[in-house]
C-alpha cells in the first residue's frame, strides 16, 4: 500500500481516508455532497498523488507509434488528451493525458492502477526511456466554477502547461490549466512541502478539501470514464465512444481499430438517469433491460448532488441504443425505471 505524502496534513484538515488502486488517499473531508457542490459553485482542492506520472524521453516517432492521438502537430507546452495506449485488439492498456515538453520529451499521467503496467508496456514496445516521477512529486488539482476568486490565474489557455512555473509564491515542477471535473482550474506537480505551503495559503482564502468520492461523482456527471470500471483491456474506444485516437497516423492497435470501425460494434456506452427520489444505486454489472429483455449492464453509478438524482453509465447493445428512451435497471432483484441519456449528464 502506498500513502500520499500529504496524509498527515490532510488528516489534520479532517480527511477521512480510504484505499483506492493500492493507495491510501482522502476519500471525503466533510461530506462528498458538500464538496461536490463546492466545486460546481465555488472551489476545492484534490490530492491526486496516486496518479502515475512518467517522464518519457526519446524519439518522437517512437512515442507517436505508442499513443493513439497525434502529438507531432502540437507545439511544446500543450497537453494532448485524453488519449490512450491501446493493445493490438484496440482495447485500452490505459487512458492517459500526455504533455509535450519538447520534440523528444513527454510527460504521461496514467491511472494509478496502471502505472507499472504502462511503464513495462512502453519499455516493451519501444526504446524510449521511462522515468517514474510518481513518488517524488505530489499532484494537486484546484478546481471550481469560482476558482479564480481564490487562486491566482496563470497565463495559460486550457490544456497548456509550464514547467518550473511560479505559482502562488512558489516554484512548482509543473503547472497546467486542466482538471477532470468539468470545471475550470489548474493542476500542479510539486515537492510535498511546496504543495503543502501553497495549500495552506489557499485554505486561508477559503478553498476546501475534496476527496476521491467527490472526484468520482464529478466525473460521472460529465460522463468521463474510470479505468477498471467503465473501460479496460477488453473494451475499445468505439464501444466506449471515447474519441482518444487520430487515424491519420500509425500506432499500436490502429489496424484493429479500423476493422472495428468497418464492422461496427455490438455494444455502446450510454449514460443513465434515474427519476428524482428513486434513491437506489445500481452497482457495476447491474442489468439494463428494455421491455423485460436484458440489453446491457451498468459500469458506474452514484448519486449526483448537482442533479439531485442517481446517475450512472454502462453499456447497451447497439441494436438497443435508444438514447432518450426509457429502460429498466435491476437492483437487488427489482427493476427500476431509468432514462437512457447522452453525455454529459450535467446539462
Amino acid at each position: 500500500m502506498f500513502w500520499t505524502p500529504l496524509i498527515n496534513f490532510e488528516e489534520k484538515l479532517g480527511a477521512s481516508l480510504g484505499e483506492f488502486a493500492g493507495w491510501k488517499m482522502p476519500m471525503t473531508y466533510s461530506s462528498y455532497q458538500e464538496e461536490h457542490m463546492a466545486v460546481r459553485t465555488k472551489s476545492a482542492f484534490f490530492d491526486l498523488s496516486h496518479m502515475g506520472r512518467l517522464r518519457v524521453t526519446g524519439k518522437l516517432q517512437e512515442f507517436e507509434n505508442l499513443i493513439a492521438k497525434k502529438i507531432s502537430d502540437s507545439p511544446p507546452g500543450n497537453m494532448i488528451g485524453p488519449t490512450a495506449f491501446l493493445n493490438d485488439r484496440a482495447g485500452f492498456v490505459d487512458d492517459v493525458m500526455t504533455y509535450k515538453v519538447s520534440e523528444s520529451e513527454f510527460l504521461v499521467v496514467t491511472n494509478a492502477i496502471n502505472r507499472e503496467k504502462v511503464i513495462n508496456w512502453i519499455r516493451k514496445n519501444s526504446t524510449l526511456e521511462v522515468q517514474d516521477l510518481t513518488f517524488d512529486l505530489v499532484m494537486i488539482a484546484l478546481q471550481g466554477r469560482g476558482i479564480w476568486e481564490v487562486v491566482e490565474k496563470p497565463d495559460l489557455s486550457p490544456l497548456q502547461f509550464k514547467l518550473n512555473a511560479k505559482f502562488e509564491g512558489h516554484e512548482v515542477f509543473l503547472l497546467s490549466r486542466s482538471g477532470w471535473t468539468g470545471e475550470d482550474g489548474v493542476e500542479f506537480w510539486a515537492k510535498p512541502e511546496v504543495a503543502q505551503s501553497i495549500l495552506e495559503r489557499l485554505i486561508v482564502r477559503g478553498i476546501k478539501g475534496a476527496g476521491l468520492v467527490t472526484r468520482d461523482s464529478l466525473r460521472q456527471e460529465m460522463g468521463f470514464v474510470l479505468y477498471g470500471e467503465d473501460i479496460g483491456e477488453d473494451v475499445n474506444p468505439v464501444e466506449a465512444r471515447y474519441w482518444v485516437y487520430s487515424l491519420e497516423k500509425d500506432f499500436i492497435g490502429k489496424s484493429a481499430l479500423l476493422e472495428i470501425l468497418r464492422a461496427g460494434v455490438d455494444k455502446l456506452r450510454i449514460g443513465l438517469k434515474l427519476p428524482k427520489n428513486q434513491r437506489v444505486i445500481p452497482r457495476n454489472s447491474s442489468k439494463i433491460k428494455i421491455a423485460g429483455k436484458e440489453v446491457g449492464y451498468v459500469t458506474s453509478s452514484t448519486f449526483s448532488p448537482y442533479l439531485s438524482r442517481v446517475i450512472g453509465m454502462g453499456y447497451l447493445s447497439s441494436r438497443h441504443f435508444l438514447v432518450g428512451g426509457n429502460a429498466e435497471v435491476e437492483v437487488r432483484g427489482k427493476d427500476y425505471s431509468v432514462k437512457l441519456s447522452d453525455f454529459p449528464l450535467l446539462k
Binding site: G18, Q33, I281, V310
Partner: protein, 135 residues
C-alpha cells in the same frame, strides 16, 4: 445518557447493539432502531434508504431495510421480532441524517416487540465497544 468513544467511533451507554451494527433503544415493549456511528462511518456517504412499511411484521434477524451509500448497499436486520409501528419518513428525502446524527434524527424505524426475551441476546455498549475496538 453518556457517550462512549472507541477510537473515532461514538457509542451511547443507554442503547443496546447487534453484531450487525444496529442499535436499539428499548422502552417497555417499544424499540427504536437505527445503525451505529461505526456503521455509518464505514458506509460513508449515505444517499438512500429503503424503509419497511408500518404494520409490517418481522422476525429477529430478518432483512427489514436497506441503507444505500455511494460505496455499498447495506442490509439492515431486525434486531427483534415484532411489528413496525413507525418509520422515519424524513430519511426518504434526507438520508444523510443517518451520517449526521445516527443515534438521533437518523433513526430508522420503531417496533412493537412481541418477544421481550429476545432483547437478552442484544449486546451492551461495553460488549459492542469490544467488537469494534481496533477497527
Amino acid at each position: 445518557m453518556s457517550e462512549i468513544k472507541v477510537g473515532k467511533y461514538v457509542l451511547r451507554s443507554d442503547l443496546l447493539y447487534t453484531e450487525s451494527d444496529e442499535w436499539v433503544k428499548l422502552n417497555g415493549t417499544e424499540a427504536v432502531v437505527g445503525i451505529t456511528d461505526y456503521a455509518q462511518k464505514k458506509l460513508r456517504d449515505i444517499v438512500g434508504v429503503d424503509l419497511p412499511k408500518r404494520g409490517q411484521r418481522v422476525s429477529l434477524g430478518e432483512v427489514i431495510a436497506v441503507v444505500e451509500s455511494v460505496k455499498a448497499a447495506a442490509d439492515i436486520y431486525s434486531p427483534l421480532s415484532g411489528e413496525v409501528i413507525d418509520v422515519n419518513e424524513e430519511l426518504v428525502s434526507s438520508p444523510e441524517l443517518i451520517n449526521k446524527d445516527p443515534y438521533g434524527s437518523g433513526w430508522l424505524f420503531k417496533l412493537k416487540i412481541t418477544n421481550p426475551e429476545e432483547s437478552k441476546k442484544l449486546l451492551s455498549a461495553e460488549l459492542y465497544a469490544e467488537k469494534i475496538k481496533g477497527d
